[in-house]
Assembly symmetry: C2
Homo-oligomer: 188 residues x 2
DNA sequence: CCTACCGATCGGTAGG
DNA sequence: CCTACCGATCGGTAGG
């Protein structure tokens, strides 16, 4: 692993643990066992690290959803695939996922704008699945946008408790969540 | 409104907008039209402001859930009441709710520990409702804790878009969310 | 509530 | 990758 990757990995852990602003370059240097000034041989600025984390995660989410929605099938199937893809990205790197979800607001322009546009395009894939399910009678929900955001919100807390060594696999988590979201709590 | 309340209100808005760490006492003073040093006539420290916001919101959530679970009824009814109470607190003060949800980790000990204990006791009320619903056959869910956290997660994104002047009232939002969570997306 | 100020720390650069 | 250092800013205090 290159020094640059090591910097990014340590920074990801610290950004998740204490937040971007509360993490100093000296904290990061200490975790790497070098001096703060030395970090700048590999990266241009503190924010560049955040940019790399946020946009790399965004790419991973897009790759997942693109594969999920390209398959044919019912809206139920496509939603299950989308949920599974989202959970897979979240669980593959929980630290980067947490930074992606909570620290993006410290991006400066024009990166912030680009980030928000990407996020909206991502959410649009979920809205489209909901919409098609409403149209063909598979789903019954009050509002397409409302439903899409509720789904994503219920997925995005996973990083707070998921452990790779835990008893549930990413696919099992995705299946449980899909079942809850599709069928509800009620014992029909 | 007392000066102390004004300070807390402005701080809440700034903490939500930029985060606790990224908000300086000079930013806060500027928003109030006074000098940074003057703030310390009313509060002891920057963190004290955060403590007051977080624990006041915690109290409000507890008041809501206590009233909701004290009523008799089915697990479905009690869950609807709990969701409505939670949404009511979230929508009554979206800025303080956002700070409560995202900035609590900047509390120092022993406040952090106390905060996390309170949060767990709050979540336990939701777990208890789910559990009783499972036992009497109203609910069918894979895991009680999993279900409770999914519910709370799907509620806690409201602060990102709720506007008091919007077309949906807090009760309508709560009803839509309860319906989605109880019945699922599927058109049964 | 202000002026004046404290020591500490910030992100980052120069030069080797 | 280090030493040495920059100007800016931080939370907070003294004294009025």
């Amino acid at each position: 692993m290159s020094r640059k990757d090591q910097i990014e990995q340590k920074a990801t852990a610290l950004f998740k643990a204490h937040g971007f602003t509360a993490t100093s370059m000296r904290d990061l240097a200490h975790a790497l066992g070098i001096e703060a000034a030395s970090i700048y041989s590999h990266i241009r600025s503190k924010e560049e690290i955040l940019q790399r984390i946020c946009f790399r995660m965004a790419e991973e989410f897009f790759e997942g959803i693109t594969a999920a929605v390209s398959e044919e099938g019912t809206a139920v199937d496509r939603l299950k695939n989308a949920v599974a893809a989202h959970v897979a990205v979240l669980t593959r790197n929980t630290e980067a996922a947490a930074v992606f979800l909570h620290e993006w607001r410290h991006l400066s322009e024009p990166f912030l704008l680009e980030f928000l546009e990407m996020r909206d395009r991502y959410e649009a894939h979920f809205r489209a699945i909901i919409r098609s399910g409403i149209h063909n009678g598979e789903f019954k929900v009050p509002d397409e946008k409302f439903a899409a955001l509720t789904i994503l919100s219920s997925l995005n807390w996973i990083h707070t408790w998921y452990k790779p060594e835990g008893k549930m696999s990413a696919q099992e988590i995705a299946d449980s969540l899909s079942a809850m979201l599709l069928n509800g709590l009620r014992n029909n």
